[in-house]
């Protein structure tokens, strides 16, 4: 006997406003979840709370002033952002960067990848419900690397250290030694987080088979970075479209088999290990002496008319800068291709049908930077 269907006695789906002020939306991100009980039926992401018109702002700045804004766009992988911006201008101007500067850039960018992934591991632990322990472990090592950045560039977060044609100023004398120290602590941090999370059954139960994407889906959504690699596509700009001195460095790309949240976590942890390897090699190959800025650069940077798209592999994926210049010292149009934004498009597909708690995990596994999404 099936009970008569009465519309007034049916359970109703409940829309929930998650964000813009919510502990686990990683900034001012808002998603309107429609839940049936605990199951997510529909998701509508709302972005733009952090929109500062960064691209337009950078169009009013000359090429040196813009570097600080690149930092502020991608505030967890600042060196990657600076590198992307600087590369674009350099390619447009045809500037040759001295080798030493290139190596230092790679070292700093990879160390930055470590700090960014540490930040991910910490925040992801909190998303999964850990009481701040992973965050604390991650920040412990992250702060150590940031000390190094501070010694070199003078700031802990907004470095503004790369310049068109090289670096702003010479690194400190004990740079190599400090890098080795940082790597040692970073390795310890990776081990700690590995012990704390990777093998924990509760963590596995929370992460596995959640938000899984196949390789086709990942490509169709234009995912990049660890999100794409976790889905089984071995695509890494450092290998596939190499820039700087990456072709001279030996490292592996970790590729996942399942494409779920757990694989993304593993891929990032493994990438951290690879970054340590890259930095070690780069430190060996680093020329001890040499210029750090390209010679014969004008005091006022001017580009020839033209357009360029430069992309780097940021910790979140493909971070690209599309630059059009009509000559002069300012870009005519600047567009940033931010991995956070592109990866976020997959949120709906990944979340529907999962539990409310899994939506948080999926969002956490994307490792978005809201400033980068909104720009």
């Amino acid at each position: 006997m099936v009970a008569e269907q009465r519309p007034d006695l049916e359970t109703i789906d409940m829309p929930i406003n998650m964000g813009p002020q919510h502990p686990s939306t990683h900034g001012v991100f808002r998603m309107v979840l429609v839940v049936s009980g605990e199951k997510v039926v529909d998701v509508t992401p709302h972005i733009g709370y952090m929109h500062r018109g960064g691209e337009k702002l950078m169009e009013t700045m000359d090429f040196r002033q813009g570097i600080g804004y690149a930092d502020r766009t991608e505030y967890l992988a600042q060196f990657s952002a600076e590198l992307g911006y600087v590369l674009a201008v350099e390619r447009l101007m045809g500037v040759e960067v001295p080798e030493r500067a290139e190596y230092i850039r790679v070292i700093l960018t990879e160390l930055n990848r470590l700090t960014s992934h540490f930040m991910f591991a910490g925040a992801f632990g909190i998303d999964s419900g850990l009481f701040g322990t992973s965050m604390m472990f991650a920040f412990r090592e992250r702060e150590f690397i940031q000390d190094l950045f501070e010694e070199i560039s003078g700031d802990r977060l907004m470095y503004a250290y790369f310049r068109v044609g090289g670096l702003a100023w010479e690194v400190t004398d004990n740079f190599v030694q400090r890098c080795h120290e940082s790597l040692k602590t970073a390795e310890r941090g990776i081990r700690d987080i590995d012990d704390l999370l990777t093998h924990n059954e509760i963590f596995m139960g929370r992460c596995q088979n959640i938000g899984a994407f196949t390789a086709q889906q990942a490509i169709a959504y234009g995912l990049s970075g660890p999100m794409l690699r976790a889905s089984g596509v071995p695509f890494d700009l450092r290998k596939d479209e190499p820039y700087s001195v990456y072709p001279r460095l030996k490292f592996d790309i970790p590729v996942g088999n399942y494409g779920d949240v757990y694989d993304r976590f593993l891929v990032r942890i493994e990438e951290m290990r690879q970054s340590v390897k890259i930095v070690e090699q780069a430190l060996e190959q680093l020329p001890p002496e040499g210029p750090i800025v390209a010679e014969k650069l004008p005091r006022r940077l001017r580009t020839p008319p033209g357009e360029v798209y430069a992309k780097v592999e940021s910790p979140r994926g493909e971070w690209g800068v599309y630059l059009i210049s009509k000559g002069g010292d300012k870009p005519y149009r600047l567009k940033m291709r931010s991995p956070s934004f592109c990866n976020l498009t997959a949120l709906r597909e990944m979340t529907i049908g999962q539990f409310l708690a899994d939506a948080v995990m999926v969002l956490g596994s994307m490792d978005i930077v809201l400033c980068d999404v909104d720009r």
């Binding site: 605990e38 419900g129 596995m204 820039y243």
Partner: protein, 386 residues
């Protein structure tokens, strides 16, 4: 043997009015527990900080010892905000519905051999029954706040409390079967030689997990899960109301820790016997209670949160069958009058089976490790330049 002595106020023992003496005992116990909770907040923050390689509170007083007082002052002086659309009656009633049972539980707890508020024949059942009432408060708070997070949190809280109450009661029932009494006092006296954790390890494990779930602490803090429902039922409460909720949470933690210490670790009886005087007994009780609390803190720092469906299936598909099996095995042993060692054997075997199950279920499908791709052929010749 059982004398009703008012806790911490032996001089008013002369009061022969039981209602008055019980009231006095309740007031004393409430004050002591409030102080205990203030200490617990400090201790929790310090212990968790150490496990995260931090210092913890350091500013107020030596080693931050006065921090709870500062916190209390701040919370009490904060404005209590109530949403305009909240249901006024449910909003305020929920506080009482959570607060009162938590303190009523303490009435039946024998702190030492002769320090308790009221003797009871069925004190264990009383503690479980009254302690289980708090779900009403959670539901009311969740519904009355007129907030969707609060509603979700309230629903989760009610479902969780009811689900985990059952394995908890069953695990206690196993102990009651062994002892032959549902009085905590008698259960403690039973453990003069060997604490019950030795005879009933499976019941102990079930009790431990169910307790953490009942207390809504990590990894079972789903109703208040900060990263999901942002505080759950407490989301709209502020100031003194919020602090009362927190106070209740800690009182519950003390109560269940005491219960665990009494039922499984032998309370003040094991290992020194009843005759060592109330001071040492109290100390022994405190130490055993502290073991539980430290364990809760330790677990809190180490584990991520479970998901709702995992939580439910863990209660109903894992803990409940094992608890029933424990009762069944105990029944066999007791009916056929087998030696106590058989109890240990069956229960220990069950405990091992439980651990193995938790271990294996998560790893049903062993996952392939990450592939490491060394040399990818360049898909595009160099990078684009303008």
């Amino acid at each position: 043997m059982m004398r009703a002595v008012i806790l911490a106020a032996p001089s008013v023992d002369a009061l022969d009015n039981p209602a008055l003496s019980a009231l006095l005992g309740l007031i004393v116990i409430t004050l002591i527990m409030t102080l205990g909770v203030m200490f617990a907040t400090w201790y929790e923050r310090k212990a968790v900080a150490r496990m995260q390689q931090r210092l913890g509170p350091m500013r107020v007083g030596p080693w931050g010892l006065l921090q709870p007082i500062a916190d209390t002052l701040k919370l009490v002086s904060k404005e209590g905000v109530r949403p305009a659309s909240a249901d006024r009656i449910a909003w305020d009633l929920s506080l009482a519905a959570i607060f009162v049972p938590a303190f009523l539980v303490l009435v039946a707890i024998p702190f030492t051999a002769d320090w308790f508020v009221s003797p009871m024949d069925l004190s264990l059942l009383y503690i479980l029954a009254v302690g289980g009432l708090s779900f009403i408060g959670f539901l009311l708070a969740g519904w009355g706040s007129d907030n969707k997070y609060a509603l979700l949190g309230g629903m989760r809280a009610a479902a969780q409390l009811i689900s985990y109450e059952i394995p908890m009661i069953l695990s206690m029932l196993a102990v009651v079967m062994v002892v032959g009494s549902a009085d905590v006092y008698r259960i403690i006296l039973y453990q003069d030689v060997v604490p019950l954790i030795v005879w009933q390890p499976l019941a102990f494990i079930i009790f431990l997990t169910a307790t953490i779930a009942e207390l809504e602490r990590q990894p079972f803090d789903i109703p208040t899960g900060e990263s999901e429902v942002a505080g759950g039922v407490f989301i709209e409460y502020s100031g003194i109301r919020w602090s009362l909720f927190q106070l209740t949470g800690y009182v519950n933690m003390y109560a269940y820790s005491l219960l665990g210490a009494f039922v499984f670790l032998g309370g003040w009886e094991w290992p020194f016997g009843t005759d060592i005087g109330w001071g040492y007994q109290l100390l022994l009780t405190m130490v055993k209670m502290a073991l539980f609390i430290v364990f809760f803190l330790w677990v809190r720092t180490s584990f991520p949160r479970l998901r709702v469906d995992q939580l439910m299936s863990y209660a109903w598909k894992v803990l409940l069958p094992f608890a029933l099996a424990q009762i069944f095995l105990n029944g066999l042993v007791l009916v056929y009058d087998l030696p106590d060692v058989v109890l240990l054997a069956t229960s220990g075997g069950g405990a091992l089976a439980l651990c193995w199950l938790v271990y294996s279920v998560v790893r049903v499908k062993p996952r392939q490790p990450l592939r490491m791709v060394g040399n990818v052929p360049a898909t595009a010749p160099g990078s684009v330049s303008g």
